[in-house]
């Protein structure tokens, strides 16, 4: 009996240790489903907007970031490299609730460090972030031409994560977004 109890405990603890890296990672229930409709003002011209409907039929990465966000700077070079590869367009969402001149700060960061985004929109009241299940910055969604979220990265994209989780899910001969990437 003591041996049985011991083995039982070993199993329980082993499962616990195996899953310990999942702790603190929210598994988004939106993955595998159509992205909730979103429409946000463009950073450089708030009178214009961009939304999920405009991007139907195209692959895109929706990257939540902010000039205030330190981890986003760590991710920045990876996104620049990804943009150079031009396998998929990256839409940046400049996200913050209550910094007065975030627009200026965001534009400043992009002009100094480079702009990896094909378009940048702003989410100032954070409602869209909640609707998309965003918990922190950076977070990124990979959306296919049907508008389905096929992957969510709940943190910094490294070069390895970009290859393993994003590129592997894209169609092999996906061309530049300008050419209308993905199937119809």
């Amino acid at each position: 009996v003591p041996l049985g109890v011991f083995l039982g405990l070993v199993v329980v603890l082993a499962v616990g240790i195996n899953h310990s890296h999942d702790v603190g990672v929210l598994k988004s229930p939106l993955v595998g489903h159509e992205i909730p409709d979103w429409q946000l003002p463009v950073l450089t011209d708030p009178t214009k907007s961009l939304g999920s409907r405009d991007l139907k039929g195209q692959w895109y990465v929706l990257n939540y970031w902010g000039a205030w966000c330190y981890s986003c700077r760590v991710e920045h070079p990876v996104l620049l490299e990804a943009q150079r590869e031009a396998r998929v367009q990256i839409i940046g969402v400049d996200w913050v609730a209550d910094v007065a001149d975030e627009n200026a700060a965001a534009l400043d960061m992009l002009s100094r460090l480079g702009n990896p985004y094909s378009k940048v929109v702003t989410d100032r009241d954070g409602r869209t972030a909640i609707d998309l299940g965003i918990a922190q910055a950076p977070e990124s969604l990979l959306v296919n031409p049907q508008g389905v979220i096929v992957y969510k990265e709940p943190g910094v994209i490294t070069a390895e994560i970009w290859r393993r989780e994003f590129l592997s899910r894209l169609p092999p001969q996906s061309t530049t977004p300008a050419a209308g990437a993905g199937g119809s």
Partner: protein, 146 residues
């Protein structure tokens, strides 16, 4: 002079007390309707801050927690039920956001486990007590025979 120092001390105490706001008052926002306010308070204590996961929405001063609280107030004001609000947030952030997990077959074992452990414990206790009682009876028997 003495009354003056006493007055000064009283004033300092009063100021300190006035500055000591209740610890839960991260969110000074109040809803106009006290019924909605009561439901709001319950909700923000039952829901997790999605960024700082061991805090409730009520405890957290993270921006995202403030945004989610604002969303909850908006939905309450729009006449949504508590279930609809929780359902919406669960559909976005998964059941993890609930401090009290909903009862479902998937996590039924979670609720059943304490009861099962209690039953097993009672079972073991009864067996041990019976064995000991039997032992005592035997010893008595043995003694009386010799």
């Amino acid at each position: 002079v003495r009354t003056l120092t006493a007055g000064a001390i009283l004033l300092i105490i009063a100021l300190v007390l006035a500055a000591a706001r209740p610890a839960w008052a991260v969110d000074p926002a109040l809803m106009s309707d006290p019924v909605l306010q009561a439901r709001y308070e319950v909700l923000i204590h039952e829901l997790r801050c999605v960024q700082c996961e061991n805090n409730s929405l009520a405890d957290s001063d993270a921006d995202i927690a403030a945004d989610v609280r604002r969303q909850i107030r908006t939905m309450l004001a729009a006449g949504k039920t508590d279930q609809q609000i929780k359902g919406y947030l669960v559909s976005r952030y998964s059941e993890f956001i609930l401090f009290r997990p909903a009862f479902s077959w998937r996590n039924a074992w979670l609720w059943a486990l304490p009861v099962m452990l209690l039953l097993i414990g009672i079972g073991i206790a009864v067996r041990v007590i019976r064995q000991r009682a039997a032992l005592v009876d035997n010893e008595d028997g043995d003694i009386s025979q010799t």
